[in-house]
Amino acid sequence: MPSHSNLYVLLRAHTATRVPALRSAIASLLCHTLSNGILFQHDPDEVSLWLDSLPSFRRSPDAEAPDGAPLTDESQAVGLFLDDSAQRCIKTPYRYIEDLQKLSSSLSNDAADSSMSSDDFVEHTSAYPSALLMTVLEQLEAKLRAKLLSASDTLAIMSFVRRLVLKLMTKTSTLSLLHEFAKKIENILQPHALFEDYPVMTKAIRREASIMIILFEHPFYHEDINAEMASSDVQDFLNQLEEMALRKSHVI
């Protein structure tokens, strides 16, 4: 049976507990521990953004998607993925810091983004996300290529990454680096790299990436589109649900 790191145990405990005081205590412990290490010493407050992006889902053991893909524990999937990414980042941190710096420098060549330069990177590391973000990018691609992630795991990780990027947008003064990161993620999630046996899951995974990218590229898309037509299948399902919820309240 594989042994888990302390980080994984704490991440799992953080997402599993339903007791707010306990959750807050575990979050404080994680923030304290991680902010002293290489991952978050540049900005101790960033830890909370990563923790707030974790899933807090509960599922039945037999849950499955309409295309038959098993739906498994999201917090476990994200916890394992983050733990593995963190161990790799801690082992060779400079590699990922350089990746982050390269991404930032490549953007500084763009005249429209003169605020990004390698000097800025060195002087203002607290304004940049953790290098762990680059490990997440690398590992998502590597694990998908090696078929090490299930459809459910990939959806969980992508939902986490989307939420994280949205939160990281509030700690950086420019969005170009995160936009570039989002484009790289979208590029990884091409249909052929995902799960052809599970088209519904593949679509849901790609939807997460497109919601993320739309904020950078078409921030007013949602204000400009017309309302979608109602689906009769959805209406039928909602009618059944409401009837069920009503009966439930009568029973209770």
Binding site: R59, T170, V200, Y221, L241, E242, M244
Partner: protein
């Protein structure tokens, strides 16, 4: 799909037993999964109905549900009107924010989402503005959180330079946050917030051009800088 919890609820109903809290929780989360995976358009009124059902099953799952609304779904949902218990027609957003105080915690923790999802109608709605701003000040505010909220608004403002009504609402929100912050954080921290705003390309853009009437209603500069500290 995803009906294991619902089957359990039906079975309990036949035996006239109340479903356990565990079954209800899972049923609520299964609905969130259904929403993530449904391959059909889900309209704003569908979302209102879904929220009501999830709330009945397990209210805390609402927070999870809101995380998966796309910007256009959130925006169209905000535009939906409904009738309040007093018979007054209100925006769903207004009922949602003002009637359920515990959901202010949701707004606070997901401020980053909300900033991108509020449409211009909501941004310029005073009740909606108050709800969003007061969510940041429900407890002692952390300067880090206020900076994050300001940056989120400034990013959207930078993308809204050709949208007068949106920019006006965002400036009003910035002004309201700064105005409240002035009274509750120390002067040095408040200076940091001012510095953050003044350094932003969005505020610099508006400082360098004559403002329209709609933008002046945002009153950001007046609220933020009128009194020297």
């Amino acid at each position: 799909m995803l009906f294991s919890s619902y089957r359990a609820i039906f079975a309990n109903q036949r035996r006239t037993e109340a479903p356990s809290a565990d079954v209800q929780q899972k049923a609520a989360y299964e609905l969130v999964d259904w929403f993530r995976l449904v391959n059909q358009p889900v309209t704003a009124s569908d979302i209102v109905r879904l929220i009501a059902v999830i709330e009945r099953f397990w209210k805390p799952a609402l927070k999870e549900f809101m995380k998966y609304l796309s910007p256009e779904q959130m925006s169209s949902w905000f535009k939906t009107k409904c009738v309040s218990p007093s018979g007054e027609i209100q925006y769903v957003s207004r009922v949602f924010h003002m009637k359920q105080q515990d959901l202010k915690v949701f707004i606070r923790s997901d401020f980053d989402d909300l900033v991108w999802q509020l449409n211009e109608e909501c941004l310029n709605d005073l009740v909606c503005q108050n709800a969003v701003v007061s969510s940041l000040f429900t407890g002692p505010p952390k300067v880090y959180d206020l900076k994050r909220a300001l940056r989120a608004l400034l990013h959207r403002l930078a993308a809204s330079t050709d949208r007068v009504q949106t920019a006006s609402g965002l400036l009003a929100l910035l002004a309201a946050i700064m105005s409240q912050a002035r009274g509750v954080i120390d002067p040095n921290s408040f200076n940091e917030l001012q510095h953050l705003c003044l350094q932003s390309s969005a505020i610099r853009f508006y400082c360098n051009k004559p403002l329209s009437e709609a933008l002046r209603r945002g009153n950001f500069i007046q609220y933020t800088y009128r009194t020297p500290i």
